[in-house]
């Protein structure tokens, strides 16, 4: 379980987050939604200890992310940020291998190699494994980054807008793979998504944020409603049914 209590964050004079209290249960896919500047990425980044909050606590499993040993935490929790511009020219396999660093400290043992093979296989990257990242398309590169955090074999996987820059087909494939990571590999996946319909279609739990606060938390069916979405996004949103899933319509 991820427990966030009384968390706040300011960027200079700008109030970015909080105070926020949230519990994300173990297992399944949790989606963070909300308008730009709602604090979704800020909260995710603090949970992933890439940023420190001004006050409050974050616990992942039974570890406090601020005080826990970084290496131990790296075996429990993996985070991928939205922007990844790597100057280093690595092959897909080398990049994914770096995800094993918390376990291997650079010396790859057979179980590390196996974990890398598994992650590559899981994201259909096996045929691309010896290609350099700069030889890949944006979608393939995004998959390679996700494979790196999956190879880390952590209980918790946090992803900040993993669908960014992906076209329809690749976005759908990515969400399916994350869903499978939760269902088949038992990972707890937390994603920030821009498109509420991906949250509606794939998430077990949806967290809606506005102005640095949590507006609504609940199963997709409870949060993806005209009332909640209209209030959260500040624009008229209608919700229709499609194959037993709610779909938000907001183009008019």
């Amino acid at each position: 379980m991820i427990t966030v209590s009384n968390l706040t964050k300011r960027y200079g004079s700008v109030h970015a987050l909080g105070p926020v209290d949230l519990e994300i249960p173990r297992g399944g896919v949790t989606a963070l939604i909300g308008p730009n500047g709602a604090g979704k990425s800020t909260m995710l980044t603090i949970i992933g200890r890439l940023l420190s909050g001004d006050s409050g606590r974050v616990e992942v499993g039974d570890l406090d992310v601020v005080t826990a040993d970084s290496r131990e935490l790296a075996k429990k929790l993996a985070i991928l940020r939205q922007e990844n511009h790597f100057v280093a020219r690595l092959t897909v396999r080398q990049l994914v291998g770096l995800g094993r660093f918390p376990h291997s400290r650079g010396r790859m043992r057979p179980d590390d190699v196996e974990a890398v093979d598994l992650a590559l296989e899981f994201l259909d990257l096996t045929p691309l494994q010896d290609r350099f990242l700069d030889e890949l398309s944006g979608g393939q590169r995004q998959r390679a980054y996700v494979a790196m955090v999956l190879a880390q074999q952590t209980d918790y996987v946090l992803l900040d807008e993993p669908l960014n820059n992906l076209d329809m087909r690749h976005a759908v494939t990515m969400m399916r793979q994350l869903r499978r990571a939760a269902d088949e590999l038992g990972r707890t996946v937390v994603v920030v998504v821009h498109d509420v319909n991906f949250a509606a279609a794939y998430a077990d739990l949806v967290v809606a944020m506005v102005d640095g606060r949590i507006a609504h938390v609940g199963p997709a069916r409870e949060v993806i409603t005209p009332y909640v979405l209209t209030e959260v996004f500040g624009t008229p949103v209608d919700v229709i049914e499609h194959r037993d899933r709610p779909v938000a319509v907001y183009y008019h």
Partner: protein, 328 residues
């Protein structure tokens, strides 16, 4: 699902990843090193030839090997740490700070030996490189070319200060010869401290995986439980020692740290551990070749290796800028 044919997965550079490339490079480098032992004005067959061989040729060749690998590896490490392809000790101000340290040590401790000088130069190089890193952190616009420009500007300012101090203490003439980047004066008893850089190279090899991770930035490093700040500090320290020692013994060797790691990266990517032998051999080959050209082009006079390197390196640098611009 994206399907990719197996043929497309084979990169055009795969030939270089096979070990054949490394042995070829090793043979070329070894030949240059052996050649360096036997090229020179003094006739080794003449009386005292054997002793001359011991006094100058062997030390000079060892110095070429050590300085060449030190500067090439330093460039590679700095490029990882700053995540920028255009940095190396002479474009980050590291060499200039080492020079300032050396001058100060000569003025303040005139009786100090090579070891003390080397320590002071390395400390100065470390301080300077940390200043560079600190400025980089405050620069908002970290485009590819801003980073080396900041370094070159910083180096120029430090260089100006060094010159000013040299003028007011009558050391200006010596300054030119010290930092010329020439292996002419490397003789027995004057180069042995360079072995320190061999130790630095080994240490970098041991830290290679950490440096590769650090090359992906602070967030990725933190995510995999690596203490980024510490790696940055240790990496900078290694580079400073290698640069400080090389500057004290031979002076500035421009562009090796730039050209060699970039060519190796183009051919093989950036996995530091498997690249290090390539980077070392490449550095040795280029420095040795430059010194051999310098020794023979105007025989019996010598042109400093750094002049040859400057010519080769400037052309290489421009080619690199153009290439990277084309590839975005």
């Amino acid at each position: 699902m994206v399907t990719t044919s197996p043929a497309a997965a084979t990169s055009s550079t795969s030939w270089w990843r096979r070990s054949g490339g490394l042995s070829t490079l090793a043979v070329i480098t070894a030949s240059l090193v052996v050649l360096s032992l036997f090229v020179g004005v003094y006739d080794l067959g003449a009386e005292g030839g054997g002793e001359m061989f011991q006094i100058t040729r062997v030390p000079r060749t060892i110095a070429l090997v050590l300085a060449g690998s030190a500067m090439a590896v330093s460039g590679q490490v700095l490029q990882q740490l700053t995540q920028n392809r255009f940095v190396e000790p002479t474009t980050t101000g590291t060499s200039e700070w080492a020079a300032l340290g050396l001058l100060i040590s000569v003025i303040l401790l005139p009786s100090a030996g090579l070891t003390e000088r080397m320590i002071i130069a390395s400390v100065s190089a470390f301080v300077g490189t940390m200043v560079f890193m600190a400025i980089l952190r405050r620069v908002q616009l970290r485009t590819t070319l801003i980073v080396p420009i900041v370094g070159i500007m910083l180096g120029a300012v430090v260089s100006a200060l060094t010159t000013l101090i040299a003028i007011s203490t009558n050391y200006l003439q010596m300054l030119g010869t010290w930092f010329m980047g020439s292996f002419t004066s490397v003789v027995r008893g004057q180069y042995e401290v360079l072995w320190v850089v061999a130790a630095v190279c080994v240490a970098i090899f041991l830290l290679a995986d950490r440096l590769t991770v650090a090359g992906l930035g602070k967030d990725v490093s933190t995510n995999v439980g690596l203490n980024y700040e510490r790696v940055l500090l240790v990496g900078t320290l290694m580079v400073s020692v290698a640069t400080g020692v090389t500057t004290v013994v031979v002076g500035f060797l421009p562009f090796i740290g730039l050209i060699v790691p970039n060519v190796v990266s183009l051919l093989r990517g950036d996995d530091l551990r498997s690249n290090l032998p390539w980077v070392c051999l490449g550095g040795v080959a280029i420095v040795t070749a430059s010194d051999l050209i310098g020794r023979t082009i105007r025989m019996p006079f010598e042109v400093p290796a750094s002049v040859i390197l400057g010519v080769l390196g400037a052309a290489g640098f421009i080619a690199l800028v153009l290439r990277l611009r084309r590839h975005g």
